[in-house]
Symmetry: C2
C-alpha cells in the first residue's frame, strides 16, 4: 500500500503579509513547502516562502497558477474575487476555508443574514440601497447608527457612525452612495469586545482558544488581553456560539469570531474573519498550539492541537509612526529588556502612520502584570517611516 507523505503536500497562500509570514513559520517547523501569491516583491512572507508568485490579488491567471502548483490553497485575507476560487473548487482543487464560506463572509450583509437565519445573535441590521433605507433604520434602531460597506472594509475602513439625521447624506456619499453595497446596523454600546479564535478540521473536529479581550483605538486593534475578564458562564456561551458559527459556515481552518458583550451581558456577533486574526497573535507565545499552526493542521487534515493557555498574555500592535516612508525600527533593545516581552517585526519596507508593522506579546504570572509590561514595552519601541 502506498502511504501518503503528508509533508510533501504543497500549501499555496493568497497573500504574503504578516499573517502569511506567521503561517509559514509554523508550516516550516513541520516541513511543509509553501508558495505565496502577493503583488509586493519584498512582502513580509517573501524571504521564507519556497516560491513567490508576484501578481495582483485579482489576477485570475496567477491564482490559477498558484493552485496548479499547490495541493491545498488558503488565504490570509478575505477580499479576494471568489469566482476563480469557486471555479477551481469545482475543478477539484482543495481550498480552505471553502470558496462558499468565503463568499458569504466577505459580504458583511450576507454574513449577518446567514448568522441571523441560524438564530445566532447579531446586532439589528438592514441592507441600504438608498438614503431612505438609512432613515428607516434610524426609526427602527434610533441613533447612533453604524453605516458599513458590505465588502472590502477592514480596520474600521468602510465604517461610519451616524449620530444624527444631518449626517446621513454625507456619510452615505462618503461610502460610495448609490454605487456601493451598504448596510446599516444598530450601534451596540458594548461593555467589552471579545474574540473567540476557533478552528474546525476537515473531519468536523473543533477546538477553541482561550477567549481574548480586545481594545480598539481609531478602529484598529490596539491591545488584546488574555484571559478575558468575563464570567465563566459567559465564556462557555461564547465558545458555544463560536462553534455554532463554524458549523453554520462549514468552516475549515481558523476563524475569528468577534463578539460584543452588551451592558446586559448578552453576546452579539460583531464580525467574522475566515482566517487567523490579529487578536489571536497572543497564541504564538501563550498557547500550546498557535492559531497559525492550528490553521496549517486543519487545512492539511492533521489533528488539531491543544490550545491550553500556558500563561496570561497581552498583545499590542506596533503601528507605523512618523511619516510615510522607509521603515526603521527604533528601541528594539529597550523593549526586549522588559521582562517576558517578545517582539515580532513584519519586515514591511514602507511604514505609514497606523499601518501594522509588528506586534509585541508579553507573558506574565498574571494579566495585570502582563498589561503593565506591555504598556511599558510599547512605549519603548517604534517603527517609523523616514522620507
Amino acid at each position: 500500500m502506498e502511504i501518503k507523505d503528508k509533508i510533501k503536500e504543497k500549501i499555496g497562500i493568497i497573500g504574503g503579509g504578516q499573517l502569511g509570514k506567521m503561517m509559514i513559520l509554523e508550516a516550516k517547523k513541520m516541513g511543509f513547502y509553501v508558495i505565496i501569491l502577493d503583488p509586493t516583491k519584498k512582502c513580509p512572507a517573501d524571504s521564507i516562502a519556497d516560491e513567490h508568485i508576484i501578481a495582483d490579488f485579482d489576477d485570475k491567471a496567477a491564482i490559477r497558477k498558484l493552485a496548479s502548483k499547490s495541493d491545498i490553497l488558503t488565504y490570509e485575507f478575505e477580499h479576494i474575487g471568489v469566482e476563480v476560487l469557486k471555479d477551481l473548487e469545482s475543478e477539484g482543487h482543495k481550498i480552505y476555508p471553502t470558496a462558499r464560506s468565503l463568499e458569504i463572509i466577505q459580504n458583511k450583509f450576507h454574513q449577518k443574514n446567514m448568522l441571523s437565519q441560524n438564530n445566532i445573535p447579531v446586532p439589528k441590521f438592514i441592507k441600504v440601497s438608498s438614503i431612505d433605507d438609512i432613515k428607516e433604520a434610524a426609526q427602527k434602531f434610533s441613533y447612533p447608527l453604524m453605516l458599513k460597506s458590505c465588502t472590502g472594509g477592514y480596520d474600521g475602513k468602510g465604517n461610519i457612525v451616524i449620530d444624527s439625521p444631518k449626517d446621513i447624506k454625507k456619510s452615505y456619499q462618503q461610502l460610495g452612495g448609490d454605487n456601493a453595497k451598504l448596510m446599516v446596523e444598530e450601534y451596540i454600546p458594548f461593555k467589552k469586545e471579545i474574540s473567540v479564535l476557533a478552528c474546525r478540521g476537515l473531519n468536523g473536529e473543533m477546538k477553541v482558544f482561550p477567549i481574548a479581550e480586545n481594545v480598539h483605538k481609531d478602529n484598529i486593534l490596539y491591545e488584546t488581553k488574555v484571559p478575558a475578564s468575563i464570567a465563566a458562564s459567559l465564556k462557555e456561551k461564547a465558545d458555544k456560539l463560536a462553534f455554532e458559527v463554524l458549523e453554520v459556515f462549514t468552516g475549515i481552518g481558523m476563524f475569528c469570531v468577534e463578539m460584543f458583550v452588551t451592558e446586559s451581558d448578552d453576546l452579539l456577533i460583531n464580525e467574522i474573519a475566515p482566517r487567523p486574526h490579529n487578536s489571536g497573535h497572543y497564541t504564538i507565545e501563550a498557547c500550546l498550539t498557535s492559531q497559525f499552526e492550528q490553521h496549517i493542521r486543519a487545512i492539511t487534515s492533521l489533528p488539531l492541537g491543544e490550545t491550553t493557555l500556558l500563561r496570561p498574555a497581552v498583545m499590542r500592535n506596533i503601528l507605523g509612526s512618523g511619516s510615510e516612508g522607509k521603515a526603521k525600527v527604533v528601541g528594539l533593545e529597550a523593549a526586549l529588556a522588559v521582562e517576558g516581552v517578545k517582539v515580532h517585526i513584519y519586515n514591511k519596507n514602507i511604514a505609514r502612520p497606523g499601518r501594522k508593522m509588528g506586534h509585541l506579546c508579553v507573558l506574565a504570572e498574571n494579566r495585570s502584570e502582563a498589561e503593565k509590561r506591555a504598556l511599558e514595552a510599547s512605549k519603548l519601541i517604534e517603527i517609523k517611516g523616514e522620507i
Copy 2:
C-alpha cells in the same frame, strides 16, 4: 543622532542543518536577514534563508564571502577550520562565539585542559601520543577507559570504550593511531547525564535554562526530560558551573554544558558545545524564550530573554529508519493526535538509519505524563529511507 536599526543587521550562519533552520525561524520573527553557508543545495535551512552560499565548510573563500555579506557571523556546528575565522576577526568581523573560544572547545583535549586549569571538575584525562600513553592511563584510571578523538567527533563517533588491555591496540588504530590526535579519559559510571543550556550576552549578562536530563542510545541523544529530577542544591551547583564555563571561555551566545551526575552526586563536565544543542530543543515549546531566540538575541547584542519553564516537557529525536534513501514521513497524523505533541521535521532529503531527521516535543502537566505521551508518539511516527 543616527539611531541604528538593529534588524537591518545581517546574520551569517555557517551550516544550514536543523540548528541553522531553527535559528532562522526565530531570527525571522524579529525580522533579521539571514545568509547561510552549506554545501547541500536543499539543506534544512535553505528554503527560509534569505541567501544560501553553496560551498564546503572548509572553503575559506566562501566563508570570507559569507563574512563580507554579513554583519555578524555564527555557526551551527563546531568542526570548522578556525584559522579563517581568526583572520576575519582580526580584520574586524564579529564572530560569536569567538574564534578563540571555538578553537579551544573544538579540540576536546584543549577544552578539558582549559576547564581543569580553571578548577572546573572534569573526568581525569591525559593526551595520547602512543599506545604507551593508553597503558599509562589504564594504570592511573583503571578500566574501562574512554579513548576519544580530540577533534571532529559527534554523536559518539570518535569515542571508543576500552574494557581491557587486549582492546588497546585495536582501539588505538581504529581511531587513527599515530596520525590522530587522541586522548583518554576515565570512564564515569554516572547516575544521570544532564545538560545545562546557558547563554552569555556581549555585555556579560548570563541566563541559564531549566536543567535537562538526557538519555542516550547508541551514543545518540534519544530523550531529553525537563525538569531534571535532581535535588535543588545540585541544580544550583550545575547552574553555577555552567556560568563558570561561560566565563572561562568568554562565551558569547548559547552554550550547552553536558555534565555527569556521579554516584556520589558530584558533577563532572562531560562536553561543551558552543551553540544551541539538541538537548535544548525542548525550549522551543516549553520555555518563554527558546535557545535559538536566545542565541540570536545574544549575538545581536539584544537583551537576553526569560527562560521560565512553562510546562514540563519531553523531547525525543526522530532518527532515520529503513534503508538509506529518499526520506519519507510516515505516521505524522497519528503522532500529532497524541495530546500535547509537537513535531518538527527537518526536511533532509536523504534518510539514513540513525540520522537526525526530526524531533518531537510533548508538554504536559507533569513530567511522567509527558514521558508517556512522548513514548507513545515516537512509536507512531517514522522517517524512513526508501531506495
